[in-house]
């Protein structure tokens, strides 16, 4: 211990020691909490990797599912997932960003706006199966779209729309008001201000939010199952009205099989899914960091 | 009260100007008195003490410069400080005139005065009176009193004319009196200049109060 600046009483010294020990205990407890999460994750990854890696090869990705485990692949599910993501993004981004722009820049501060805001926040917490049932009733049946990718993507886009709206609003709100003031002061009208000042500044945040929303959508099995049912497809969708399957469904299919080999296939499917998810998140983080540095001055 | 220090410093400057005027008053009085009584010792004192007057004026000027540099005075404050500087300057010149009169007294030496001094002391009294009133108008910011001083200058000019004519008569009548007559002429000239300077002080008072320099 360093030399003391002033002589202190024994009582004070004891109290200090007590506080130091207490601090150490809490540090240990917090560290343990973190470890619980990390250990859980590590165990999960170990399980998945040890079961799935043996089955990972190029064939696995390009083959269609089959009754024979050695010939089974997840090409149809992978393509289905890609199609679904693309079309979901197609619906979600314009609608979500548009709604965010309206709420932030145009909507007057009255009760109606407040009601809309509250509802959007609540919708983000609705269980995804509810969206599945909604989609089934509305898009599949009433709109007569059938169990198509179109219906599936519209359903999923409803699911993730609140996320996109909220994160886009945050991104738009983060644009400093001083930019708006400067733009208006030069004679720009509202649309010019939005298009040329606010959206470019908010774009990274909006993009990040969209990617994160998509990465949530990619893993949602329940609503997709409701729409497309537990299908066993051996073809790739050719147009929006086609039937489809996605990775979570295919993985579940394999898990439900009795043979042990299919466990391994399921694990391999999970690895593919995880890789896609990690890639999307990494892109989102990368973009956020890159643009954060630029505008944070 | 905002700017307390500054207010105090402004008051200080003003007090110092009043002190300076008192010193100058005494110098003028002493110079005339020593001339009348032929007290050469007193005359010498007036000459020596002019240095003190000069130093005082310089101190006032420096204090004013500091206030301008450090306090950014505006409007009336600025006029107060400028007026103080200029009044101090006028007073210092008046001190120089008193010194001039004392030097004449010394130059006259053992010579008796040409004639009993009556008009010249009267001029001096008037000039000192004008000085006193001009400084009062400065302290009280009284433009009526200032105007009064301004107009009194005519009286002093008349007295000067009178003394001049009388001395001229002496000189024309008897050339041997020329040297002593010119001494007295210079003294009365110096007194006329003193009175003139007090009107300058009165003008500064007008400027301080109204911000304008015209007297009427």
């Amino acid at each position: 211990m360093a030399s003391e600046l002033r002589p202190i009483s024994d009582q004070l010294r004891r109290r200090r020691t007590y506080r130091r020990v207490l601090g150490g205990i809490f540090y240990g407890l917090f560290l343990a909490s973190v470890c619980v999460g990390i250990v859980g994750l590590v165990v999960l990854l170990y399980e998945v990797l040890s079961n799935g890696l043996p089955w990972m090869n190029w064939q696995f990705i390009t083959d269609y599912p089959s009754r024979h485990p050695e010939e089974a692949g997840l090409f149809s599910a992978l393509m289905g997932t890609m199609w679904l993501m693309a079309m979901t993004a197609l619906f979600t981004v314009p609608v979500g960003v548009g709604a965010a722009i309206y709420l932030e820049e145009y909507a007057p501060r009255n009760i109606l706006t407040r009601v809309i805001e509250i509802n959007v926040a609540n919708l983000a917490g609705v269980p995804s199966i509810v969206y599945g049932l909604l989609g089934l009733a509305l898009f599949v049946t009433w709109f007569q779209l059938g169990r198509s990718i179109l219906a599936g993507s519209m359903t999923l886009s409803l699911l993730v729309l609140p996320i996109v709206i909220i994160s886009s609003r945050e991104a738009i709100r983060a644009v400093p008001d001083s930019y708006r003031q400067a733009a208006y002061a030069m004679g720009a009208d509202q649309w010019q201000v939005i298009k040329q000042v606010i959206l470019p500044s908010a774009a990274p945040g909006i993009l990040t939010g969209t990617i994160l929303a998509m990465s949530r959508a990619i893993g949602e099995a329940a609503p997709v199952i409701a729409i497309s049912a537990l299908v066993y497809l051996t073809y790739v969708p050719a147009h929006p009205m086609d039937r489809f399957t996605v990775l979570p469904i295919q993985i579940y299919n394999w898990i439900a099989r009795p043979q042990d080999e299919f466990r391994g296939l399921a694990a391999a499917g999970i690895i593919v899914l995880l890789v896609i998810l990690l890639t999307m998140n990494a892109i989102a983080v990368f973009l956020r960091n890159r643009y954060q540095v630029r505008s944070e001055e | 009260m905002p700017r307390e220090d500054f207010e105090r410093n402004l008051k200080l400057v003003q007090d110092e100007v009043v002190q300076l005027s008192s010193m100058v008053e005494k110098a003028i009085f002493k110079s005339i008195d020593s001339l009348k009584r032929r007290d050469l010792g007193a005359s010498q004192q007036v000459v020596d003490e002019d240095d003190i007057i000069d130093a005082k004026q310089e101190a006032i000027e420096n204090r004013c410069i500091d206030l301008i540099a450090l306090e950014s005075p505006m409007a009336v404050d600025l006029r107060v400080i400028i007026a103080a500087m200029m009044v101090a300057n006028e007073l210092e010149r008046m001190g120089d005139y008193a010194e001039g009169i004392a030097k004449i007294s010394l130059a006259m030496g053992e010579l008796p005065p040409l004639k009993p001094l009556i008009d010249i002391p009267r001029m001096a009294d008037k000039a000192v009176d004008m000085l006193r009133r001009s400084i009062e108008s400065y302290v009280n910011r009284d433009i009526v009193a200032a105007k009064g001083v301004f107009h009194d200058d005519d009286e002093v000019d008349e007295m000067y004319e009178q003394v001049y004519r009388e001395l001229l008569t002496y000189m024309m009548g008897d050339p041997t009196t020329i040297q002593r007559a010119t001494y007295l002429l210079w003294v009365s000239h110096d007194l006329e200049r003193v009175a003139d300077r007090t009107t300058n002080i009165a003008e500064r008072v007008m400027f301080l109060v109204t911000g304008k320099t015209e007297m009427d």
């Binding site: 007057p108 501060r109 400093p176 001083s178 930019y179 003031q181 400067a182 733009a183 208006y184 002061a185 030069m186 004679g187 720009a188 009208d189 010019q192 040329q196 000042v197 470019p200 500044s201 630029r294 505008s295 001055e297 | 009260m1 905002p2 700017r3 500054f6 950014s72 005075p73 505006m74 409007a75 009336v76 404050d77 600025l78 006029r79 109204t210 911000g211």
Partner: protein, 264 residues
């Protein structure tokens, strides 16, 4: 109440306020302002906090329209037209009456793009490069940035950023430039650079500048208007006269109290 000097009325006015009253909801922020601002001249607006000088400034280019609770009564005449008439478009006013703000606020774009922005939104069809250079020269910034026009605006120092904002406002060639405490966020040297710039600019533009700094108002302006907080916290115009008069011999005792710092 207000001493509107005769010689201040018969001026060649770029902007004139007539019976201007500004409300924020029910609160009267500015009361009955009548004032003519001379062309090609620098008019300073001074006064204590809350006296409404910034609010008044923002009326002159209808920036208060962006505040939903603000309502403006009275008239602001610009070239014999009331800019608050129903048939006048605020965006057009703002391209002729520009504004520079207290804290430099360049866009997160390059120096070139910042200046080109105003040109773009106003449908400029001429030579953008030339216009950008012209604006930067007018703002005394060209020499310092001519070799790095594509660098981000944030690589400039605070004083340079503010001059960039001035150049940006000048790019659309307004007639009037409104400045809301343009130097208060800058160090003394940058402040003096801005003041020099203001003096140079008045040959071509009319400048109205709000400032907290009285010495700055005295240094840089030709006319000064003093605003004060009145009853019910409403601001009003106390005195508007040549700067030289206001700072050596103001007519209103409240003006004198404020500029000599005896106001508390």
């Amino acid at each position: 109440m207000v001493l509107e000097k005769e010689h201040m009325k018969n001026v060649d006015a770029a902007l004139t306020a007539k019976n201007l009253n500004v409300y924020y909801g029910d609160f009267l922020a500015i009361k009955d302002v009548n004032m003519a601002m001379k062309k090609n001249s620098v008019t300073a607006l001074i006064g204590p906090s809350g006296c409404g000088k910034s609010t008044f400034l923002r009326c002159l280019n209808r920036m208060n329209d962006l505040i939903t609770s603000a309502s403006v009564r009275g008239e602001i005449l610009f070239e014999n037209l009331n800019i608050y008439s129903d048939n006048i478009d605020a965006t057009e006013i703002r391209s002729r009456i520009g504004m520079v703000f207290q804290k430099p606020n360049p866009f997160p774009k390059s120096i070139y793009q910042n200046i080109a922005f105003g040109l773009k939104v106003n449908g400029f069809s001429g030579d953008t490069d030339e216009a950008v250079e012209r604006s930067l020269r007018q703002a005394s910034l060209w020499e310092e940035v001519k070799d790095r026009l594509n660098d981000s605006a944030f690589t400039l120092s605070g004083g340079q950023q503010q001059r960039l904002c001035i150049a940006r406002a000048l790019a659309v060639e307004p007639e009037v430039l409104l400045m809301d405490e343009p130097a208060s966020a800058l160090d003394p040297i940058a402040t003096l650079a801005i003041e020099d710039l203001v003096r140079d600019l008045k040959a071509r533009y009319t400048i109205i500048i709000v400032t907290h700094n009285m010495q700055q108002a005295a240094r840089v302006s030709d006319e000064t208007a003093f605003f004060m907080v009145g009853e019910n916290r409403s601001g009003y115009l106390v005195e508007h006269d040549d700067t030289q008069r206001i700072f050596t011999n103001p007519s209103n005792v409240k003006t004198e109290e404020y500029i000599t710092g005896r106001f508390s």
